[in-house]
């Protein structure tokens, strides 16, 4: 892009690397920033720098945080004897929104996927097992996704935690609200039947 000024070309190139941003969108964003007030561009640059400088993983639960340990692990009101294991940091938000869970979390940062070559060593499983060693934890709630990778991870964790004698539970599986029985698959329906409750 010799006919475009170097700083412009550089920013277009950087935007272009972002997911979902093509060359046209990258140009549009760059020209927008060029026309916008200096403060706006500075604020964006500072926000990006702060993201990389301040954000880290909590040393206890491996959630994304800007303080050490994260606010959930620091909270003395929460029940630290229950650990809910999730795949990604973004899985914590919907669980917190329910307002039903007052325990703490552990983020694995992925799920076991033999097809993609993701093995247990690449997840934060060792760290979870070492959290369970001191005997203060009484229940581990496996909240991995109800798909093949999530199931494999849950079954693997069960095998590793079972020798420690800690109660292991799994989020219930069944029909989501708004679904239709006619279109439910066999696996979901059979699990919904097995997990039926007194009404």
């Amino acid at each position: 892009m010799a006919f475009i000024a170097e700083p412009l070309a550089r920013l277009i190139g950087e935007f272009n690397k972002l997911p979902g941003i093509g060359p046209k969108s990258a140009q549009r964003l760059t020209y927008y920033l060029l026309r916008s007030p200096d403060e706006e561009a500075k604020a964006l640059a500072e926000a990006i720098l702060a993201l990389k400088e301040k954000i880290r993983l909590c040393s206890v639960c491996f959630n994304i945080t800007d303080c050490e340990p994260c606010p959930i692990c620091q909270d003395r009101e929460r029940d630290h004897s229950k650990i809910c294991v999730v795949e990604k940091p973004s899985d914590i938000l919907p669980l917190e929104r329910t307002g039903k869970y007052r325990g703490v979390y552990h983020v694995l940062h992925g799920a076991i996927s033999p097809a993609q070559g993701i093995s247990p060593k690449e997840l934060r499983i060792e760290e979870l097992l070492s959290r369970l060693q001191d005997g203060s934890v009484t229940e581990v709630i496996l909240a991995t996704n109800p798909n093949l990778e999530g199931e494999a991870t849950a079954m693997y964790l069960r095998r590793m935690i079972l020798p420690l004698g800690i109660r292991i539970s799994r989020l219930a599986r069944g029909l989501p609200f708004g679904a239709e029985l006619e279109y439910a698959d066999d696996v979901t329906l059979s699990q919904a039947l097995e997990g039926r409750q007194e009404f």
Binding site: A115, L148, E151, R159, L162, P163, P176, E180, Y183, D185
Partner: protein, 280 residues
């Protein structure tokens, strides 16, 4: 393996939508809520199709399009990829999905199919073998035998059947002595010919006999064979090396199976004890 007939059937002039049986072998996320599925079908071989909205909780496709599922699908022809418009599960293989070991075996089978086949290449016997193998994995405990049987027959249907009766170099009939398997030549070498082939690995008399039997028998007969663990690992290594030589890469799910074998002795005792306690 050019799928000329299939190309015509899904080419211009074909109906806008068509129905097919399919086994889902792989899925990757596409955007926020869609999935690209790799499916294996009896009439069109391997296909890549889009399942729109399959990641949404209330999706009608949802659980019907996950890997290790045998479904009947209605596919619409898209510009690049077909689109799944309806899917009805025929068999969800729950026994595979609810057991760590069986799931690992099932995923290994799927990876083999995905790695060895090309898109739009019909292979009905291979589809039948795949379906039969998944059912077998649900039923029996001798899963290692099922895997070896599948590997041998997969190689046969794809044109890589290993030569186990005659030396691949001098063509003389093999004698009941320790012979040598050479992956790059696709079969067994007699002791004399193997001297100049440093990449060959020894193949015991029992291993050769079992491979010959499995190559020609059905599942029912194959399962009746009792093999010791050393012989089982010899057979596994021979076929593994041969397949990796053909693919020119390691099989990812085999690495996972090996890892499982390492953790198993530590946990089996505890798992069995706990399950016995939980029994009514």
């Amino acid at each position: 393996m050019k799928g000329g007939r299939n190309s015509e059937r899904i080419g211009m002039g074909a109906p806008r939508s068509y129905q097919t049986e399919a086994i889902v072998i792989k899925q990757i996320k596409l955007g926020e809520a869609d999935k690209i599925l790799t499916i294996y079908t009896p009439g069109f071989g391997k296909l890549k199709v889009v399942a729109k909205g399959a990641c949404r909780p209330g999706s009608k496709l949802g659980g019907n399009v996950g890997p290790l599922t045998y479904s009947v699908m209605l596919l619409a022809r898209g510009r690049n990829l077909g689109i799944v418009t309806q899917s009805q599960t025929m068999e969800g293989f729950l026994a595979l999905k609810n057991d760590l070991w069986r799931m690992a075996y099932g995923l290994y089978i799927l990876e083999l199919i995905d790695s060895f086949t090309v898109e739009n290449s019909e292979n009905r016997p291979l589809f039948d073998l795949l379906l039969d193998t998944l059912y077998q994995l649900c039923r029996v405990d001798s899963n290692e035998i099922v895997l070896r049987y599948f590997e041998l027959h997969l190689l046969h249907y794809l044109g890589y059947r290993p030569e186990l009766h005659r030396c691949v170099k001098c063509n003389s009939p093999l004698k009941p002595v320790v012979n040598f398997f050479n992956s790059s030549q696709g079969g067994v070498l007699c002791p004399r010919c193997s001297q100049n082939e440093p990449m060959s690995r020894s193949l015991s008399v029992d291993a050769l006999k079992i491979l010959r039997l499995w190559q020609s028998c059905d599942y029912a007969t194959a399962k009746r064979v009792q093999i010791k663990s050393e012989l089982s690992s010899e057979l596994e290594q021979v076929l593994q090396e041969y397949m990796e030589c053909l693919l020119q890469r390691k099989l990812r799910s085999m690495t996972w199976l090996r890892e499982l074998k390492n953790i198993e002795p530590l946990t089996r005792l505890y798992v069995n004890r706990r399950e016995n306690l939980l029994k009514p």
